[in-house]
Assembly symmetry: C2
Homo-oligomer: 229 residues x 2
Amino acid sequence: MDSYNEIQLAITIFEITGMSQKANKSERILDAAEALFAVHGYDGVTMRKIASEANVDVALANYHFGRKMDVFNAVFERRSDKLNNARLEALRRCQDLAGPSGPSVEKIIEAFLRPLEIAQENTDPGWKNYLALIAYVNNSPVWGEKMMSSLFDELVQEYIEALKKALPNAKDEDIYWCYQNLSGALTLTFAQTGRIDKLSKGKCRSDDFHTAYDNMIPFIAAGFNKVCG
Amino acid sequence: MDSYNEIQLAITIFEITGMSQKANKSERILDAAEALFAVHGYDGVTMRKIASEANVDVALANYHFGRKMDVFNAVFERRSDKLNNARLEALRRCQDLAGPSGPSVEKIIEAFLRPLEIAQENTDPGWKNYLALIAYVNNSPVWGEKMMSSLFDELVQEYIEALKKALPNAKDEDIYWCYQNLSGALTLTFAQTGRIDKLSKGKCRSDDFHTAYDNMIPFIAAGFNKVCG
DNA sequence: CACTATATTCAACATATGTTGAAAATGCAA
DNA sequence: TTGCATTTTCAACATATGTTGAATATAGTG
C-alpha cells in the first residue's frame, strides 16, 4: 500500500513545463486564469486580474480565446486529456497485473487516485491549480453536471465497470452512491482549504497529498466493500 | 440502520417557517440571499438580484445588514446554532443509549448525519439551500477555513472525541484524515450538482437524501474502522 | 390627533467590468 | 529591404455594481 511503482511510471505522462514566465503569452494567460479560477471561482475573477497576473494587456485574452467563458473552458479542457490518459493507463496496468479475475477494489481505487497525487506533486504548480479548479467545478450546482460529465464521465464509467466486476453482488445504484462518496472526498482534498490543518491543530496538512491518499485509498475501498460486498 | 427514531425527534428542533412570501422583508432578503449564494457563490450574486428575488428595493439589504459581505455572514450564521444544537443533541442521545463504553463508530456517524437529512427534508426549503451554501463555503479555498472553523469546529471536536473513544487504537492524524473524507462526501451531497443523476442514467437522484445517507453511513463507518481500527 | 423612531424607496455617485475596433508592434517569408 | 499576417497594446464604449444620502412611508406611543 505504501509504494506504487507501477503507477509511478505514469509520472512521465505529466511533462514538466515549469518556468514561471513563459515566453508564450497565450499559455501565460491560461496559467494565470487557472490559478485564479481555482481559488476564486468563475465570478470571482476578472479579465483584468487575469491579464495583470499574466503580465499582459486586458484585450489579449479576448483575442486568443474569445469571451471570458471561453477562457474558462480553455483552462478546463487544457489538461483533461493528459489526466484521462494517465488514469486510463493506470487502470489498464492494474488490470494486466491482476489476470482474468480482475483487480481488487483497493487496486482499482489506487489506480484511480495515485495519478492525481503524482500530478499534484509535479514541479509545474499548474497541475495543483488545475485539480483545485476541478474541485470548484465538481462542487458547483451551476457547472457540476455539465462540465464534469462531458470531460470525465467516459473515464469514470470505465472504472465503474471494473468495480462492478470486483463487486459482483452489488446493485448498480450502490456503486454510484459509493462513487459519489469517493468523488466528494477527493474534491475536498483537491480544494486545499486548509481546514484540516486548523481542525487537527497542525497534525495534518492540506498539502500533504501523499498522506491524504494513503489514508483515502483504504478508507474508500473499505466503504465500497462494506456497502457493495 | 433503516429507521432512526431517536433522532427523528430532533425534527422538532427545525421549526417550520415556510410561506414563500413572508411579511418580514428582512427575512425575505436572507432567504433570497441564501438561495442565490448557495447556487452561484459569493461573487456570482449581486445585491440587485437578491433584492429582486426578495421583491424589495436594492438599498434595503444595506440598511438592514450593512455591506454585501455582512449579508453573506448573516445568512451563514442564521441557522448555525439550530443546526449545531440538533447535532449535539443527537450525539448526546446516542451516547446515553450506549452506556459507559460509548457508542459504536456507526452510531456516531449516524448521529452526525441524520439531523442533516431531517433538515434537508424540512418543508422550509431554506434548510436545503443553507446546506448547499455550506457546501460552497466548505469547499472554497477563500472561505473554507475561516468561516467553517469559527462556527462548526467546536461541534466537530465533540464528535472527534467520541470517535477517539470508539477507536482507541487510532492515531489522532488518522481520525482527522478520515473526518476529511467524511466531510468531503457530505459536502458533495449538500451541493446537489445532479452529476450522479446523469452518471447513473437516472438510477440515483441528487435530491434523494434518504438513500444518500443510508449508503453514506455504513460507507463512512467502514472507512473509519478500517483505517483507525 | 401629533410626535418619533423605524422601515422602505428613490435617485444618483463613483467605480469596475466585459468587450471591441483601431493603432502599433512583432515575426516571417520573399 | 518590402510586404503581409499575426500578435499585442491603447483607448474607449456601454453596462453593471456596491453603496450612500435624502425623501417618503409606516408603525407605534403619548
